[in-house]
Amino acid sequence: KETFEGHQVLRITAKDEAQLALIKDLEDMIHFELDFWRGVTDVASPVDVRVPFHSLQSVKVYLETKAIEYATMIEDLQALLEKEQEEMDAVAR
């Protein structure tokens, strides 16, 4: 079973088109193994991306050096998944 220990979901907000393009560049960085939950569209819409633990530091450094704002939408994805599973199990019981 694939688990997501240490994965975070970041909500990234671009302040202009230039930042939007920099976020879009992340999509091409295959080695980060990012999973875009909500893709790059326009400045008004935040981008949500699941970042594996091994890429967290690099992605955050990338965003910070480009002065791109982000917030951690999900701190620990696996914890949330386990909570969801517990709820389902409780209902099934």
Binding site: F4, R38, M73, E84, V91
Partner: protein, 311 residues
């Protein structure tokens, strides 16, 4: 189903396993033999049935299509589809607008559009989005079934990399989950609306995704979308954006509703349901019913319009 002996006692406020949802469908058919039937339009790669609930009160009627769950990890969509099924069954005969629609048209509801993916989200990888067919020559599995339709297939807005979440597949309709719907739509030949439901990001979208050329009915689709999201927002204030796929999100080729629109189904829309819980695909279960309730209002606007504006 989850302990339920009837669709009245089914717990709509929680997520369910695939077998519970299949059982729910069978119960609904048994309880409403004069309204609801089940049509198996094909099977998934792993052999699961693609079961469409048909709500019908007569023969040879035009049809309205709704599907949920083509991206398997979007659990709130299958859960909402289950709620819609019960709503249609109970509102017929009591809700004048729905009754009028069903006295003249059929509604087809495919709750489990990507059953292999859904089963996989429940056993192996909660974040799985694609189908589960292996890709020859690659260790990566599955195709994005919303990039596999014969509408701008292979153009920008989809990936040719089997490891990508938006892998389009080797050819249009390569996925049985897509081909089965294509065959059904063609053989039916008289669908008047086609609504494909995704989550999340709160949008109501119409064609096109693969081209910036406006759909010839864009003005009508746009104003109908506005009416639909206004109705949706009237319940809980959930705010939606609306527009063509390419202008509202990004270029996406091989998408479902671009193909249905090109087949002549004018009222082709795709939803992105709510994210009020701020957890994306992990929308808390207590959000299911509010999501379904508000979406239903928008669905009714589109279905009523399709009924009253015959073409």
């Amino acid at each position: 189903a989850g302990g339920a002996r009837s669709t009245d006692s089914f717990d709509y406020a929680n997520y369910h396993t695939i077998s519970e949802i299949y059982n729910f469908q069978d119960m609904l058919v048994r309880e409403n033999p004069n309204l609801v039937s089940k049509i198996v339009i094909g099977q998934s790669y792993e052999g699961r049935p693609l079961s469409v609930l048909k709500f019908s009160t007569g023969a040879n009627r035009p049809g309205l299509w709704i599907d949920t769950g083509i991206h398997s990890r979007e659990w709130v969509t299958q859960a909402s589809g289950t709620w819609f099924a019960k709503k249609i069954a109970t509102a017929y005969g009591s809700d004048p607008a729905l009754t009028a629609i069903l006295n003249n048209m059929d509604i087809f509801l495919l709750i489990m559009t990507n059953p292999d993916g859904f089963a996989y989200t429940q056993t192996n990888n909660r974040m799985w989005r694609k189908t589960r067919k292996p890709n020859p020559g690659s260790s990566c599995v599955g195709v994005d079934p919303n990039r596999n339709w014969d509408a701008g297939f292979g153009e920008p807005g989809a990936s040719n990399n089997p490891c990508s979440e938006t892998y389009r597949g080797p050819r249009a309709n390569s996925e049985s989950e897509v081909k089965s719907i294509v065959d059904f739509v063609r053989s039916h030949g008289n669908l008047k609306s086609f609504i494909s439901i995704h989550s999340y990001s709160q949008m109501l979208l119409y064609p096109y995704g693969y081209t910036s050329t406006p759909a010839k009915d864009q003005a009508e689709l746009h104003s109908l979308a506005k009416k639909a999201i206004t109705a949706l927002a009237s319940l809980y204030g959930t705010r939606y954006r609306y527009g063509s796929i390419i202008n509202t999100i990004y270029q996406a080729s091989g998408g479902t509703i671009d193909w249905t629109y090109n087949q002549g189904i004018k009222y082709s829309y795709t939803f992105e349901l709510r994210d009020t819980g701020d957890y994306g695909f992990l929308l808390p279960a207590n959000q299911i019913i509010p999501t379904a309730e508000e979406t239903w209002l928008a669905l009714m606007v589109i279905m009523k319009h399709a009924y009253k504006n015959a073409y």
